[in-house]
Every structure is written in structure tokens, then in C-alpha cells.
């Protein structure tokens, strides 16, 4: 019984080591390159982003169209 709990701890530890080996072997690129690509994506898609550019009230179903108030 006492050996069983050690054995199961070993299984858990082996899994953890295997997982870490997998994560350590991931291919990585430099942050400068990754960041540049994130920036490019943002800028290329900025014009298509209604919350960023603002969409005229008449086109946005959520914004009430401006109307004249007759006093």
C-alpha cells in the first residue's frame, strides 16, 4: 500500500516530465517578429473594424439614427 502511493506519484511525475519535454521542444520565433505580425494584422484590418473606426449611425443598427426634433 505504501509502495502503491509512491508508484502512483512516480506515474504522475513521469507524466509531468513528459509534458515539460514536449513544451520545451516547441519551435519559437522572436518576440520582435511575432509582435510585428500582430501589428501588421491590426493595421491591415483596422478599416474593417466598426468599433474602431466608428460607423455612421444610419448604418449601425445599434445606433439610433439622428432625427430632428420639431419644437
Amino acid at each position: 500500500m505504501s509502495n502503491n502511493s509512491a508508484a502512483s506519484s512516480i506515474v504522475v511525475a513521469q507524466k509531468a516530465v513528459k509534458q515539460l519535454r514536449l513544451e520545451a521542444s516547441v519551435r519559437r520565433i522572436k518576440v520582435s517578429q511575432a509582435a510585428a505580425e500582430l501589428k501588421t494584422f491590426c493595421l491591415q484590418n483596422a478599416h474593417k473594424d466598426p468599433l474602431l473606426t466608428g460607423v455612421p449611425s444610419s448604418d449601425n443598427p445599434f445606433r439610433p439614427p439622428k432625427s430632428c426634433v420639431l419644437l
Binding site: V31, A34, E37, F41, C42, D49, L52
Partner: protein, 385 residues
């Protein structure tokens, strides 16, 4: 599932991680067992050393490529101007805290769920309620709209995820057609349909995520690796392949391969529970929101955190995050009742939105990016544009 015991209670109140494994310390009864025991202990300590060495190596490898900060790369980018975003609709009808919401692909319908067990489908343009279902449990923490728009999935303290087909006949009793799909051993924290109505991905307080076939209720794949409740998940945009990210009470965000069940990347820089994760629109990065009052951006190809969105004045946890369509804006719903809008590239806050009268618990940008909707413990949902 292998049976696992977690001494956790439901996240809405508190969350604890697994109890530390007790050290093995018992005197052996037989001499042979003594030598075996010594050998096992040696193996265990070798493994522990190897584990520590690998962790250090992982950090070193990541650090080698950390040559610049995101906001430095974005220095020359034009700053964003003043944002005028206001509440355009307020959806009233829930009798208690709104816990979750999701948009329909038609960009106008919304499903929301609340603490009192009610799940409501709204037309967000007109604010009319189209369907309402009462679940047999309280704290419906997760809800999702099917891609076809013909069904919704929800669950919470019942430990299940159920799918309700939406009928065109408003008088029909939706509860009659309910289908139980997922079964966990603790509360359901999040659910999402994959690209079709046929599969659902769930995350649970039992520490696992799982992929289910809706028709048969069969478990297709389970995902083990979190050491505590899993609180949130998000599927990668369809173009980038079969992965999803999950966040949990163990402060980790894990990226999973849906086919193999393998955890392919793991990030642990938050200082508290991760309440929300959301992919960047290109699929190359994801954002997270945590009880440590910060949002963070992790790049998957650089395999590290690349930005932190925080201010000293912000001390309350983030419950929910989402990106605008281009990924330039990050919206965060906070426990101090506000919504903060961040410039993702520059790392600065561009706007703070007031309106809710209690914690913001859920926040999603509409599929076409024209508005976003927030749900709150003040029983209402608001659409902002």
C-alpha cells in the same frame, strides 16, 4: 473519466487548488519492501530534479527570444483618438445575476443565462425576448448559441451541458426537447459549439475540458492537465486549425490539440484565477483576464506573454475579455462594475465605460464587430456601440 477527487467548491464563491500531495512516510513492514521503497523514492527524486531542470530550461529558451516589447514595436503606430461608446440597448428580464451570454451568427440574437436558472434568447435590435427556458438548476454559468442559430446549449451547477433546439413556435415548451449532452463531476463553467451544431466543447470545475458528440452524447476526447477548476475556454478561429485555449484556478492558460487531447503549450504568468480567455482574431495569440486585475496577451509563436494591460488604479478582477474585429481593441469587463477598453498594441487604456450597477460578468463582441454586449450581476445586459 478517471475518477479524481478535488477538494474544491463552486467558483462563484471561492476556488481552491488541489491539496498538496502528502509526503510518503511510512515504515515498511518487510525488509524487501524497504529496499523497494528506497528505490521508488530515488526514482521520484530524480524525476523531480529533471522536472525542475526542464522548467528552468523552458524559461531560458523563452527568455532568449524576448528581444523587444510589443508596445515598443508599436511606437510609430498612430494613437487612437477619443472613443464615444454608449449603451445603445438595455435588455431587462432576468430575475437575478446574468452569468453568461453569447451572440448568434445572425449578429442580432443573443442568448443569456442567469443565477436564477433562466436562459433567455433576445433580439438585441428590438430588445424583445424570443424564447425563455427555466433550467432545473440555479447558477447557469455557461451558455452558447449553435452556429446554425437553431439551438442553444447551457449548463452550470447541474454538472451537465444540455442542448435545447429553438422552435419557431413560441408557445412550444422548449424544455420538452432538451437533450443532455455533457456530464462532468463538478459544475460546468463554459461551453462552446465547434464549427458545427454536432460537437460541443465544455470546461468544468472538475479540472477537465471535454469534447462531446451532440447527437449521441458520447465523449469524443477529454483534456487533462489543469490542477484546479477550469473556468473558461475559447476555440481557435477556424482557419488556424483544431486547437483551443482554456484558463483555470491554477493560474494557467493551456493550449490543447483537439484531436489528440494533448496540451501543446502552457502559460503561467497570472497571479490568480484566469476567468476568461479569448483568441486574437488572427489566431496567433490570445488574451486572458484574471482575478489579479490584469489582462495579458500571449503570443503562440513566440510562446510567451507579450503584453500586460493593467493600471495601479485598477484593483478588481477581470471577469471577461474580448477583441474588436481587427484585434486593436481589447474590452475587459471588471468586478468594479466598469468596462475598460485597451489599445492592444500600445498597452494603454483608451476608454472606461460606466453603466452597470454591479459586477460585469460576461462580455462578447458581435460577430460583425458593430457592437459588443455585456452582462452583469445587476440583472441586465447592455449592448454598446
Amino acid at each position: 473519466f478517471p475518477k479524481q477527487t478535488f477538494s474544491l467548491c463552486c467558483k462563484p464563491f471561492r476556488c481552491r487548488s488541489l491539496p498538496a500531495r502528502r509526503k510518503y512516510m511510512r515504515s515498511p513492514l518487510v525488509p524487501e519492501m524497504a529496499t523497494q521503497e528506497v528505490q521508488l523514492n530515488e526514482t521520484l527524486s530524480h524525476l523531480k530534479t529533471e522536472s525542475d531542470t526542464l522548467k528552468t530550461k523552458l524559461e531560458e529558451e523563452r527568455a532568449k527570444l524576448h528581444d523587444v516589447e510589443l508596445h515598443q514595436v508599436a511606437e510609430k503606430v498612430d494613437g487612437l483618438g477619443q472613443f464615444v461608446m454608449k449603451t445603445r440597448r438595455t435588455l431587462k428580464g432576468h430575475g437575478n445575476k446574468v452569468l453568461c451570454m453569447d451572440w448568434c451568427k445572425d449578429k442580432r440574437r443573443i442568448v443569456s443565462s442567469s443565477q436564477d436558472g433562466k436562459v433567455i434568447v433576445w433580439d438585441a435590435f428590438t430588445t424583445n425576448k424570443e424564447h425563455a427556458v427555466t433550467m432545473p438548476c440555479t447558477w447557469v454559468m455557461a451558455c452558447a448559441y449553435a452556429p446554425s442559430g437553431c439551438a442553444v446549449a447551457c449548463g452550470g451547477l447541474d454538472n451537465k451541458c444540455s442542448v435545447y433546439p429553438l422552435s419557431l413556435d413560441k408557445n412550444e415548451n422548449l424544455a420538452a426537447k432538451k437533450k443532455s449532452v455533457a456530464m462532468h463531476t463538478n459544475y460546468l463553467s463554459a461551453c462552446s459549439f465547434t464549427n458545427s451544431d454536432m460537437q460541443i466543447l465544455t470546461s468544468s470545475g472538475d479540472g477537465t475540458c471535454a469534447l462531446w458528440d451532440v447527437e449521441s452524447g458520447q465523449l469524443l476526447q477529454s483534456f487533462h492537465g489543469h490542477a484546479a477548476d477550469v473556468l473558461c475556454l475559447d476555440l481557435a478561429p477556424s482557419e488556424t486549425g483544431n486547437t483551443f485555449v482554456s484558463g483555470g484556478c491554477d493560474k494557467k492558460a493551456n493550449v490543447w490539440d483537439m484531436r489528440s487531447g494533448q496540451c501543446i503549450q502552457s502559460f503561467e504568468t497570472h497571479e490568480s484565477d484566469i476567468n476568461s480567455v479569448r483568441y486574437y482574431p488572427s489566431g496567433d495569440a490570445f488574451a486572458s483576464g484574471s482575478d489579479d486585475a490584469t489582462c495579458r496577451l500571449y503570443d503562440l509563436r513566440a510562446d510567451r506573454e507579450v503584453a500586460i494591460y493593467s493600471k495601479e488604479s485598477i484593483i478588481f478582477g477581470v471577469s471577461s475579455v474580448d477583441f474588436s474585429l481587427s484585434g486593436r481593441l481589447l474590452f475587459g469587463g471588471y468586478n468594479d462594475y466598469t468596462i475598460n477598453v485597451w489599445d492592444v498594441l500600445k498597452g494603454t487604456r483608451v476608454s472606461i465605460l460606466f453603466g452597470h450597477e454591479n459586477r460585469v460578468s460576461t462580455l462578447r463582441v458581435s460577430p460583425d464587430g458593430t457592437a459588443f454586449c455585456s452582462g452583469s450581476w445587476d440583472h441586465t445586459l447592455r449592448t454598446w456601440a
